[in-house]
């Protein structure tokens, strides 16, 4: 059951001298070895790292970087999975006045080269062989790159490029420098100012080349404090860091909030074990994009399809109670004692176990943001008693500006502004915001900066309005709003999220702007539909073949009919096509945070779009797919078009 927010006040007063490394030093002094700062699961065992151990490592790396020639204002690019070493290097960079640039782990070579060059990073810190390979293959194009630092020795035995240096060597150099010049680290940290640039973060950009947003220590510190005033965390809380460090949401939780509050950050063993590791930790607070929650819902739905009749019946009954109670709470109506009692029973019988399996047994606040999330998912988690909240923000405001308050959740809104944050709507309907966390500007891009920053207001490019209760409602990116045949405005994302509530559908792309009717391009979930097909004894050898089975079309049609329910006729999906592959960030169809790049797919699949609005029942595709390692596969196939009978 959701518990009340505990109160805890961050013991730091923001001034023009306060920086993140100073916060780290203070916290390490306060807790020493008495409290665990981080935990990493390694070799099957959770290994704790205390605050003083954390600081020691940061200090060694920081001085090591100095002895390699890092100067104040130099950029250090970083790429790798979520591990303690990642945060150490980041904090080390900040400690000596450097600027941290994080790259997404699955970035392609061109993106890596572009960001290293654009940021003129002097150092690249990669986790292991994979990252080193990437770095070595682009370093010819990156004249500013001085050293490539690696950490995991696996597979690195035959690498002897003089550009390479191991993190261990860096730390040894750092310890050596510390012996020669004791107090250097403390002195360097003391020189930092709140206004110094801390992060140079590249926004994924659904449309153009990535832009580098400059964020100061002040931006990050105020972000953490203002957010923690709304939903306080305590030093006893646990947080699991499993989303890319290159995502501002992860920085906000791990650094802006985590460091100031002093809660424990847990790192999964491997990305593939994250879900299992979350369950072992049972975090108190969680921030993830909708995909993560959609995946959890899918897991439950699939297990539900698989279980016995009696279990299904108990689950269905409990969910009915949960939904009823959640709806009463959404409508801010009182929940009678009878319903409370029933809900308590449902919790004991079903929700408690279910939440434990999802790793949500101790969760106090779960946040979602970065993309739209459907009302169906929202209701699902609230029915389980998980306090899921929508947030709204962007990299340029160091994380978030708007957030749902406990007990005041409306799933068509993103909530109300956090402390010290003002949100307005311009005459054109654009959302603008002002807060101490608004960024300094884009690196080497005054034109974009001028467009985005006016009189201290951050112009988001998003459209929206503020409703009668003061909640912000965000339409999709301006160009993502559809005008239907009856001239009404409609959000394709709304329909897409409804479709994605079906466990069988992994992705959907809804088309219909200024078109006579609405259509959808659907990507089935290979695992779930594959299993369904196995049970139906359908033969298939590939995603492509499975997606084109008439039986699968029937299944998808059923899901679309379900999503179409309760929509007005012009807003109903009329035709659909099953795509022969899943949308993929490597094919540039999704951003690295897995948002659909609508303009791109419209261009890439223009033949499909055209066919959906012609009178025909299939289309021939002849296309290529590029894999992460550069392999290119040619695909030729016929795709069926299915019209939903009225």
């Amino acid at each position: 059951m959701p518990r009340g927010d505990k109160s805890f006040t961050i013991p730091f007063q923001i001034s023009e001298d306060l920086t993140l490394p100073k916060v780290l030093m203070e916290t390490a002094k306060r807790y020493g070895d008495a409290k665990v700062a981080m935990r990493e699961k390694e070799f099957g065992i959770w290994r704790p790292i205390t605050w003083s151990h954390y600081l020691e490592n940061v200090k060694a790396i920081a001085l090591g970087l100095v002895s390699l020639g890092l100067k104040r204002g130099d950029k250090v690019a970083m790429i790798g999975d979520n591990r303690p070493e990642g945060l150490w290097v980041e904090m080390a960079t900040l400690s000596v006045g450097g600027i941290a640039v994080w790259l997404f782990q699955d970035s392609l070579m061109d993106e890596v080269a572009y960001i290293i060059n654009h940021s003129d990073a002097a150092f690249l810190v990669g986790e292991g062989q994979e990252e080193v390979d990437k770095a070595l293959s682009v370093h010819g194009k990156c004249p500013f790159l001085k050293k490539i630092i690696w950490d995991d020795p696996k597979g690195m035995r035959d690498y002897n490029d003089p550009l390479l240096v191991s993190l261990k060597e860096v730390m040894d150099k750092g310890r050596e420098l510390d012996r020669q010049d004791p107090g250097l680290f403390e002195k360097t940290v003391a020189q930092g100012k709140a206004g110094d640039v801390a992060l140079l973060f590249y926004t994924s950009g659904t449309t153009a080349l990535p832009k580098g947003a400059l964020l100061s220590h002040y931006n990050l510190l105020t972000m953490g404090q203002n957010m923690m005033k709304v939903d306080p965390c305590t030093p006893d809380d646990d947080f699991v860091s499993f989303l890319p460090f290159a995502w501002i949401g992860e920085q906000m939780m791990s650094i802006s909030c985590g460091l100031q509050v002093g809660f424990t950050i847990n790192f999964p063993e491997e990305p593939e074990t994250a879900q299992e590791n979350i369950r072992e930790i049972g975090p108190h607070v969680m921030f993830a994009p909708p995909r993560m929650y959609e995946q959890m819902t899918r897991t439950v739905q699939v297990k539900h399809l698989d279980s016995t009749w009696i279990k299904r019946s108990i689950f269905n009954l409990a969910m009915k109670i949960g939904y009823r109670v959640a709806d009463l709470r959404f409508e801010k109506k009182g929940v009678s004692w009878a319903w409370k009692a029933l809900n308590g029973l449902a919790y004991t019988l079903v929700f408690k176990k279910l939440r434990d399996h999802l790793g949500l047994s101790r969760i106090r606040n779960a946040y979602t943001g970065g993309a739209a999330m459907g009302p169906d998912h929202f209701r699902f988690f609230h029915a389980l008693g998980v306090n899921l909240k929508q947030i709204y923000g962007q990299t340029e405001i160091a994380g978030i500006s708007v957030l749902h308050r406990s007990g005041d959740i409306k799933f068509d809104t993103v909530g109300t502004p956090i402390i010290n944050t003002e949100v307005r709507i311009t005459e054109e309907g654009e959302i603008i915001s002002k807060s101490p966390s608004v960024f300094l500007g884009y690196y080497k891009n005054p034109e974009a900066t001028n467009k985005t920053l006016k009189d201290g207001w951050l112009y988001s490019g998003d459209k929206g309005f503020i409703d009668e209760e003061g909640h912000l409602v965000v339409f999709d990116r301006t160009k993502d709003v559809m005008i239907l045949s009856d001239q009404s405005i409609f959000s394709p994302q709304y329909l897409e999220t409804r479709l994605k509530f079906s466990p069988y559908l992994k992705d959907a792309w809804v088309i219909g702007n200024e078109k006579p009717y609405i259509t959808a391009v659907v990507c089935i979930d290979y695992a779930v539909v594959g299993k369904w097909a196995d049970e139906k004894k359908l033969n298939y050898t590939s995603y492509q073949e499975l997606s084109q089975k008439p039986e699968v079309y029937d299944l998808v049609e059923k899901q679309i009919r379900e999503a179409n329910k309760s929509l007005k006729p012009v807003a109903k999906i009329n035709k659909f096509i099953n795509l022969y592959k899943e949308f993929d960030a490597d094919d540039e169809e999704l951003t690295r945070t897995r948002k659909l790049r609508r303009a791109f797919v419209e261009n890439r699949y223009q033949d499909i779009v055209r066919a959906l609005y012609e009178d025909r029942d299939n289309i021939h595709m002849d296309t290529t797919i590029t894999y992460e390692d550069g392999r290119v596969i040619h695909i030729k196939t016929d795709l069926h078009i299915r019209e939903l009978s009225k």
Binding site: F43, E270, T273
Partner: protein
């Protein structure tokens, strides 16, 4: 691939012959395996490759000739005695306990090195506890990490896809902490990506400072064999016809003749 230094002779197969009835599966086969090398044994189907592996690990006892490990004769020893001396193997047909988890299968591979008896084992103190801790660390910290199977650690082997079972099989063999690892067609039945992974694991096991295991590899995928082997021996109808570096073998006229009509000598999946 012979970029690293090879040591002295670790295994000596001295003129061994193996008959089944009157059929000679091996006749007078002899070669040396040097410490630190990946020594591949290739040959057309029925050439006697698996029989040779069976002789080395003691499943079969050759009627003639001798086998020496570190100059010590092991010909009369039984398989478990050879295992204790540091010879471990994987099987062409996966030999795992399908109903047990990945971790338990790997632990079982280690079982030979547990010395405490039933009595002391039932009292979990002293030697037993120390041994358990050491074994647990050994298995978890290294094999699972090396083979990147963290996410399937607690899964039942029978539920896993074939490619992963092959990996577990390798982990089970490695748990013995062997000096010499016999790999019987570790790549058979794997897809391209799995082959690349497995080849990398074999190289890691052979070259990483922690392992440095000498490997004898029986394999049909010539692309991988020629890529990763230090030396290759060729069998044909029970006779060894050549031993040499991959490039020597590829140009050896006798070898080419032996493979006549079989196109897979240079066939590769890449």
């Amino acid at each position: 691939m012979s970029s690293h230094e090879l040591g002295g002779v670790l295994l000596k197969v001295d003129d061994i012959s193996m008959f089944f009835g009157k059929v000679a599966a091996l006749s007078g086969v002899g070669f040396d395996v040097r410490e630190g090398e990946i020594h591949s044994i290739i040959g057309p189907n029925g050439a006697g490759k698996t029989v040779l592996l069976n002789c080395i690990n003691g499943l079969y006892h050759p009627q003639k000739g001798g086998i020496f490990l570190d100059s010590q004769e092991i010909t009369p020893l039984r398989p478990h005695q050879r295992a204790q001396l540091g010879i471990s193997r994987t099987f062409q047909k996966i030999e795992l306990f399908r109903g047990m988890t990945v971790l338990d299968n790997i632990r079982l591979g280690r079982h030979l090195h547990l010395k405490s008896g039933i009595l002391s084992g039932s009292i979990y103190i002293g030697k037993t506890a120390r041994e358990e801790i050491k074994t647990r660390e050994f298995i978890e910290e290294e094999i699972i990490d090396l083979l990147e199977i963290e996410s399937i650690r607690d899964k039942t082997v029978g539920m896993l896809p074939y490619g992963l079972q092959k990996r577990v099989e390798l982990g089970r063999a490695l748990a013995l902490n062997p000096k010499l690892l016999l790999l019987d067609e570790p790549l058979a039945g794997l897809n391209l990506e799995e082959v690349e992974d497995m080849a990398r694991f074999i190289l890691d096991i052979n070259q990483e400072k922690r392992w440095k295991v000498t490997c004898i590899l029986v394999e049909h995928d010539m692309g991988v064999v020629m890529d990763i082997s230090d030396r290759v021996s060729v069998l044909s109808f029970g006779n060894k016809i050549a031993t040499g570096t991959p490039s020597e073998i590829q140009t050896n006229p006798q070898v080419i003749e032996a493979y006549l009509g079989e196109e897979d000598l240079y066939a590769t999946r890449r």
